[in-house]
């Protein structure tokens, strides 16, 4: 694997197992360049979320190395106050489970949490809160409690709570999961816009439909927790055997004359040989 000076995140032969017995990553190596969008593709349980947590310095690999912004990221390094503040202010992570991420009693406090920890002055925090809420169309939710929010609103609050810190790298874990189509579309457009503004994006997803918008490179994970392919979305989506082998599509997934691979309802009678 070749690493260039423009690579922000570099992973070398990462291995991780939960409780030292349930393998999540089995020798994963890749790098992410500044300003790029990278999608992690793979079936449930292949290690995507674990990898994102390692990239955010929340978990640490059993073996292998991880560097961010040219510095190794280890548990000891993150104990250092300056390094921790520098790293945390540069990398933001949007969790799959918004309930875990939206932990404050009100939306206002939630969005203010990150900047408060960073020591940003209160006047600037108030300005930033107003700006991100307006951007994500959630200004009307400012004093609401999380239990009063729908899942789409919670997701937007979670995103606002990370964007308000203005990180350089944004990690998304299944950002479009469990969202209605309109919210999904808005989110996909936002991701593209953030990347155009210079942010580096790494996201884990099953959603093949929006891949060409949210990624310019895909890493495909097998169910054996290794990367089996790295390429552009177009080439990955065109490789049906690859997608079948990693359980990203089903044998009944098909395209209509050059369209994107997809599933839809079909006559089940042919299963029972009664077509």
């Amino acid at each position: 694997m070749s690493v260039t000076s423009e690579d922000l995140l570099v992973c070398t032969d990462l291995r991780y197992a939960y409780l030292e017995r349930f393998t999540a990553l089995d020798g994963v190596s890749f790098s992410v360049g500044r300003g790029k969008k990278v999608a992690l593709l793979g079936a449930n349980g292949c290690g995507k979320s674990t990898l994102l947590k390692i990239l955010d310095g929340l978990l640490f690999p059993d073996s292998g190395g991880y560097e961010a912004f040219g510095q190794p990221v280890t548990e000891e390094d993150l104990e250092d106050e300056q390094f921790s503040m520098g790293f945390r202010s540069r990398v933001g992570f949007i969790f799959q489970n918004s309930d875990a991420q939206v932990f404050s009693p009100t939306v206002r406090e939630e969005i203010a949490f990150g900047p408060l920890q960073m020591g940003i002055p209160p006047e600037r925090i108030a300005e930033r809160i107003d700006d991100v809420m307006e951007m994500l169309d959630i200004a009307h939710l400012i004093d609401r409690a999380p239990f009063q929010l729908s899942s789409g609103e919670k997701k937007r609050v979670a995103i606002a709570s990370v964007l308000v810190m203005n990180p350089e790298v944004i990690l998304f874990d299944e950002p479009t999961a469990a969202l209605d189509p309109r919210t999904q579309q808005r989110l996909v457009e936002l991701i593209a816009e953030l990347n155009q503004a210079g942010k580096t994006i790494v996201l884990a997803t099953h959603d093949l439909d929006v891949l060409d918008i949210v990624a310019d490179r895909c890493l495909v994970f097998s169910e054996q927790h290794r990367i089996v392919a790295q390429d552009t979305p177009e080439r990955i989506l065109a490789d049906r055997d690859l997608l079948l082998s990693v359980n990203l599509v089903h044998e009944h997934t098909h395209s209509h004359g050059g369209g994107r691979p997809h599933d839809h309802a079909h006559d089940l009678r042919h299963h029972a040989g009664r077509a």
Partner: protein
């Protein structure tokens, strides 16, 4: 299941109709309400109350406009004043003032009175009733009940006065606390506790606990609803029900534990290193100062009046 899998073999009984356990028409015989129904109703009551409290706290009444810290400190001063009053008329006056405050703060008066008086007879009544009898508080018997070795035993004037004083003191104190809690959003009330030097970390933890109570309540509701959906027939098996409750409690604990780990990661991800830093945002205005001065003056006048009435 591998990608190139064999077709699933659906069991024959699943492809055939099933005779229902009973016809889908009414028999007129009512099912007994089970603990599941009661739990579900209880859970939805909690949610309803929380929503109602939030709505009331957002009204444009007098107390809603007062800074939470001022309300907490003034409330404490008034509670101390109530504790030192020794005459029922003074306490009645203070209680009447709480009703006036409830009215100007747009609290439904019936709801306010019910909230205060619902539990007083149960808790305070149990304590004060013995104190009304002549064998606890000797004095002039106004209600003779029986005779004991030639001596009348019954309720005395002094006993009834003592009981009345205690009940009014409790009612007035509870009214003050209910006024503060109903007119202040829970979050601001927590922030207001900082005025009493409650540690910031404590406030942060309680705030998060409040946030997640509702999430876990949803989980409980889901589990009980799932159980209700699969409960057929009217047979009660107490042992089986107890096992279900225990299993639910265990599952909830596991869920809460897993959630707590994720929440900790989310906090760490945004720079949390153990120091609680929270938003301020509470500002004391002229209205707050005027309100505080008025309440303290009223408390002083009532204590003075109580003193003049003599012990």
């Amino acid at each position: 299941m591998t990608v190139a899998s064999e077709a699933l073999r659906t069991p024959d009984w699943l492809l055939q109709g099933e005779a229902g356990l009973s016809p889908c028409t009414r028999s007129g015989k009512q099912k007994r309400r089970s603990f599941i129904e009661k739990t579900l109703n209880g859970a939805s009551n909690v949610m309803r109350q929380a929503m109602f409290s939030e709505d009331v706290a957002q009204q444009h009444g007098l107390l809603q406009r007062i800074d939470a810290r001022v309300k907490v400190v003034v409330g404490l001063v008034l509670l101390l004043a109530v504790a030192f009053v020794h005459h029922i008329p003074v306490l009645l006056g203070m209680y009447a003032l709480t009703l006036v405050m409830a009215a100007v703060s747009r609290l439904p008066i019936g709801f306010f009175i019910k909230r205060v008086w619902l539990f007083i007879p149960i808790f305070t009544g149990v304590i004060v009733v013995p104190a009304t009898f002549s064998f606890v508080t000797p004095g002039d018997i106004v209600l003779p009940l029986w005779s004991w070795h030639g001596h009348a035993v019954g309720m005395t004037t002094q006993g009834l006065e003592t009981a009345g004083l205690l009940v009014m003191r409790v009612a007035t104190s509870v009214s003050l606390v209910v006024l503060i809690t109903l007119t202040t959003p829970w979050v601001k009330l927590l922030a207001g506790l900082r005025a009493l030097f409650v540690p910031r970390m404590f406030v942060l933890i309680i705030g998060m606990a409040y946030r997640y109570v509702f999430l876990l309540l949803n989980s409980v509701t889901d589990m009980y609803t799932a159980r209700k959906a699969r409960t057929v027939g009217n047979e009660r098996d107490t042992r089986r029900d107890r096992r279900f409750v225990a299993a639910t409690a265990g599952a909830l604990f596991g869920k809460a534990h897993a959630l707590s780990e994720e929440v900790h990661m989310a906090m760490t991800s945004r720079g949390f290193r153990g120091d609680a830093k929270t938003l301020g945002g509470l500002r004391v205005s002229g209205l707050d100062v005027a309100f505080a001065l008025t309440c303290v003056t009223v408390a002083a006048l009532l204590l003075g009046g109580d003193h003049l009435l003599g012990r």
